[in-house]
């Protein structure tokens, strides 16, 4: 079983070295590590070169401005049976490849979704870490029981290369390529497994501007994919159920939380207080689960973040679904140096 790694990089000098080291430091080594330099203008090429023949490096002649285009460029150099796709700001846990290999022992498995955790930095990354815990240990776990993984994380996914080349490929017509891949896999009735032991640590936006821009990409891309892959929603009851629960809740409650304060300020206060209490219960559970005790404090900023999330969700719905203004411009958040590795 030959397992390759594919990592597109663009101006990743702050995080790249730690990321490459984590990829090299695996209990089951990658058979091939392909790094694509998307015409970086910082020290990324030098850092890649410093690893010599331990990694394979290719440089895109002209910046593609889009992760999936850089990935597509790099895919031609992948020679493995399986490929792990991750980001240059992501660290892989030492047993990551080992776990991926275990999941692919089942010949029906076409893709493996790993777990993404947020590297600690500030209150925003704490909120994101909380989202990841709830999203992956509740939503995604239930989805794996229902045989319908909603999204393969861009920072921790692995694919059977032959199937990927034949059925999935790169369309570049949505801004969230990972969701596009996932829906294509479902459309072709292939099997995705969720491996909770294949863990990666990623760097999330550390300021509000970057956070909002990332949400715009995620939610905007989410709506783009719903429009693109609408037919898969109505072809299986479980997909119809799962996707309508997710999108109905997002849409209706995003409107609701902005309406209620106008209808009844006192009621809105109790509504927020109730939400805070629920978030607190989940935060205690998340802190215990992750052994990251700062998560207990997350309900305080999370109330604010809830309104930000809801606003961006509605904004992207209006933009992408109502006005059909498709945004395909890639957003890359500012990186910070990775100082704490797990």
């Amino acid at each position: 079983m030959k397992i390759s790694l594919l990592v597109p990089c663009y101006n990743e000098e702050k995080s790249l070295e730690a990321s490459i080291k984590s990829c090299l430091n695996q209990t089951r080594k990658f058979d091939e590590l392909v790094f694509i330099d998307d015409s970086s203008t910082d020290k990324t090429p030098q850092i890649l070169a410093s690893f010599g023949d331990k990694i394979i490096t290719h440089r895109v002649p002209k910046n593609t401005g889009n992760k999936s285009r850089a990935q597509e460029f790099g895919f031609q150099f992948v020679t493995g049976d399986f490929v792990v796709t991750t980001d240059a700001d992501t660290l892989l846990k030492p047993n990551f490849v080992e776990e991926i290999e275990k999941s692919f022992q089942d010949p029906k498995v076409v893709a493996v979704a790993g777990v993404v955790k947020s590297l600690p930095y500030n209150w925003l990354t704490l909120c994101r870490a909380f989202d990841y815990v709830v999203g992956q240990y509740i939503h995604k776990l239930a989805q794996s029981h229902m045989n319908f993984i909603f999204v393969m994380p861009g920072a921790a996914s692995a694919f059977r290369v032959e199937t990927f080349r034949k059925y999935i490929t790169f369309d570049h017509d949505t801004i969230t390529e990972d969701l596009d891949f996932t829906y294509k896999i479902h459309r072709n009735q292939f099997k995705i497994v969720y491996n909770q032991q294949a863990i990666s640590y990623t760097q999330d936006p550390t300021n509000l501007k970057n956070y909002i821009n990332q949400l715009r990409r995620w939610f905007g891309g989410g709506w783009q994919n719903v429009i693109k892959h609408y037919s898969i929603i109505v072809t299986k009851p479980i997909r119809a159920f799962e996707l309508s629960v997710i999108y109905a809740e997002g849409l209706i409650f995003s409107v609701l939380i902005f309406i209620i304060p106008f209808l009844n300020l006192w009621f809105a206060f109790w509504f927020v207080f109730g939400y805070f209490t629920i978030a607190f219960v989940f935060a205690v559970w998340a802190a215990w689960k992750e052994k990251r005790w700062a998560l207990i404090l997350v309900p305080f900023p999370y109330i604010f973040i809830m309104f930000v999330n809801a606003y961006v969700y509605l904004e992207q719905f209006v933009k992408e679904v109502i006005f059909r203004k498709k945004n395909l411009v890639w957003f890359k958040p500012d990186r910070v140096t990775i100082t704490k590795t797990s």
């Binding site: 239930a142 999204v151 309508s244 409107v255 209620i260």
Partner: protein, 155 residues
């Protein structure tokens, strides 16, 4: 990416699925993947989508309803503000026709302390008196009906 902007109904639904699987070894879509979709299937799945949206919409509707009927409701506040505007429109002094010429000023015309009407003074017409609502009672419709009743009792 976060699935929805909230920790809400979907979390509860997914927790139920997880517990369902643990407790009853229940796998909702066990190996039904390879089946094609018929027109009936499309109809059923579309029905599921509509039903889920309706259920969540109804839940949201309950919250909206509860916030409107609550005593702190802004809707109620604005409704009462409109009544306040009506209050201003009520004339301070109202005319009443009473079939008597010896009703003196200051006579109270009602035994309800919250809806009292006070004879203010006579007009040029000896049978018409001016009355004023007291105790901040400003329900104009009620005052009018009260005046009519009082008028009849003097006839």
């Amino acid at each position: 990416m976060p699935f929805t902007p909230f920790i809400g109904i979907s979390v509860i639904v997914h927790i139920c699925v997880i517990f369902g699987c643990w407790l009853f070894s229940w796998i909702p879509t066990k190996e039904k993947i390879a089946q094609g979709t018929t027109y009936v299937g499309y109809a059923v799945n579309s029905g599921i989508i509509v039903a889920v949206f309706m259920l969540i919409f109804i839940q949201a509707g309950f919250l909206v309803h509860a916030s409107i009927v609550d005593k702190h409701s802004s809707v109620k506040f604005f409704a009462s503000s409109i009544t306040q505007i009506k209050k201003i429109k009520i004339p301070e002094l109202l005319n009443i026709v009473i079939a008597s010429t010896n009703v003196s000023s200051g006579t109270q015309l009602s035994d309800n302390p919250m809806a009292d009407l006070l004879i203010k003074n006579r007009t040029d017409n000896p049978f018409i008196y001016q009355v004023e609502p007291v105790n901040n009672f400003n329900d104009y419709t009620y005052i009018q009906s009260k005046l009519n009743d009082i008028s009849k009792t003097f006839q």
